[in-house]
Amino acid sequence: MKKIDISKFQSLIGLIVFSVIVAFINSRFMTTSNILNILRQTSINAVIATGMTFVILTGGIDLSVGSILGFSGAVAAMMLASGVDSIIAIPVALIVGLVVGALNGVLISKGKLQPFIVTLATMTMLRGATLVFTDGKPIGTGFEANSKLFAWFGNGYVLGIPVPIIVIIVTFLVALFVLTQTKIGRYVYALGGNEEATKLSGISTDKVKIFVYAISGMMAALAGIIITSRLSSAQPTAGSGYELDAIAAVVLGGTSLAGGTGTIVGTMIGALIIGVLNNALNLMDVSSYFQMLAKGSVILLAVLLDRKNK
C-alpha cells in the first residue's frame, strides 16, 4: 500500500512542479479563471477516463468511448431539437451510452472476444450510425425552455464553480467509493488480477465485464452531454480520438493496462497532467506542430519518472 501512495504522490509532485514552471513563464496561468478553465476543459477527458479506469482495471480496453460520446450527444440534441425536455433527454442519452457499453460487455464476455477488436468494431459502427442518423450535419440543441437545464449542464455555475467541474468531482467520489468500498469494485480488481482465479471463486466474471463496459459507455455519454451542451450543438464527429487521451490519462495515473492495479486518484492526476499540458502549451503559444512533440515527450517523461519510483 505504501508504495502506491508514494507513486501517487510523485506524479502529483510532477504535476505541481510543471505547473509552477509554467506559472513563472506565463503569469496568466495561475489565475483563478484559468484554473477553472483548465478544470472545465479537463472534465470531458476526466469523465471518460473514469469509466476507462474501470475497464482497464479488468485488463480490458474501450476504444468506442469517442463514438459513444458522439452518438449519445446526437441523441440528446435530436430530442431537444424536437422539443423533448432536458429532464428526459439527459437520462435517455445516459441510458443509450449505458446500453451500448453493456453491449460491448456482452460481446466481450459472452462472445469471449478480445476487447480491443470488439470496441474497435463498435467504434466504427457507432460512428457510422451517428453519421447516418445526423446525415453528417451538426444538430443544434436549440435555446427554448426545454433545453435550459441541458444548457446549464455544460455552461452553468454553482457558487461560482462551473457545473462540469461539479460533475467531475461527483463522478470521482462515486467511482472512488465503488472501487474501494464495494464488492463489485473489488471484483473489478480481482478480475484484472487473475481472471481464472476470480472465476473459480464463484464470481460471475461475465457480469463484472458487462458492468465495467456499461459504466464506461455511460461515462462517455455523460461526456457527450457536457460537450453538446457547451457547444449548443452535437457534432457528428465529436469525440473522435478521445479514447487515446482517456487511455493516456489512465496510464499516466499509474494503472497498468494488464489490469489488476491502479487507482481512480491516479487517473484524475493523469487527466490533469494532460489538461494542464494542453492549456500551458496554448498559453505559451507553442505552434501546434511543436505541441505534438512536447505532448509526446511529456507523456514519456511522466511514465518514465513514475516507473523510477516503483
Binding site: L131, N155, S233, N282, L283, D285, S288
Partner: protein, 286 residues
Amino acid sequence: QSQPAATEEPAAEEAAGAAKIGLVVSTLNNPFFVSLKEGAEQKAKDMGMELVVLDSQNDPAQELANVEDLLTQGVSLILINPTDSDAVGNAIIAANNKNVPVVTLDRGANQGEVVSHIASDNVAGGVMAGEHIVSLLGGKGKVVELEGIAGTSAARDRGQGFNDAIAGTEIEVVAKQVADFDRTQGLSVMENILQAQPEIDAVFAHNDEMALGAQKAIEASGREIIIVGFDATDDAVAAVKEGKMSATVAQQPSLIGELGVETAKKILDGESVEDFVPVDLQLVTE
C-alpha cells in the same frame, strides 16, 4: 514504367444505360462537403444520371483506392474533390490512363490532366476575410488566427490570403493555433488563448466550425471580439444574423457540386467546357 495491357475497357458499357459517374470527396465528416455532395446528388437525379459517391476520409491513399475502385466499376467520368492537390496526382493519372475524364472540385490538382476545375478561390476568400477585419478595426489591432487541419491546402491558402490582406497594416496576429477545422477544438483552443491574451480584437477562423467553437468560448468569457469564419454553413449564417459572428466567407458548396455534375454531363455529351469554373465567394455580413 511499364503498364499492363488494358484488359478491361471501362467505357464499353457507357451506351447501355444512363451514364454512371463517380464523385470522390475528401471527407464527409464536414458539413461543407456534405452540402457539396448533396448538390451533386440532387443535380444528378434531376438529370437522370447515376452518381457513385466515395469518401476518402482525408487520406490520399484511400483517395487513390477510391479512384481505382471507380475505374474498375467502369464509370465514365470522375469528379474529384482532392484531399491534397499534390497527392491526388497519381489518382488522376490513373484515370487519364484509362481515358476517363476528370473534373476537380473545390481543390485543384497539380498533376495529371483535368478537363475542368470548379472551385472558389481560397486565397481570395482569405483576403476577403482579412480586408473585412482590417476595415472594422481601422487597420489597427490584435487578432487571433485559428487554423485548419495542418497540411491541407484550404488551411494554407486561407491563411496566406488573410495574412496578405493584413500585411502592411498595424494589425498584429497575437496567437495562431491549429484547431483542425473542428468545433470542439475551436472551443478549447480559444478558451486557452483567451486566458493568455488580455487584448484581442478579432478572430479569423479558417472555417465556420472552428469559428462557432471560438464564439462559444468568447461568449462565456464575456468579452467583445469580432469573429470571422469561412464557409457560411447554416449554423454560421444564423450566428451572423444574431450578431454573434461578424461575418463568414460564403462558399457555395452545393453549387460546386451541381456545377460539377452539369460540367460532367457536358463533357460526356461532347460539348466543350471551360477549364476553370469559378464559383462566387461572398462575404456574408448581417
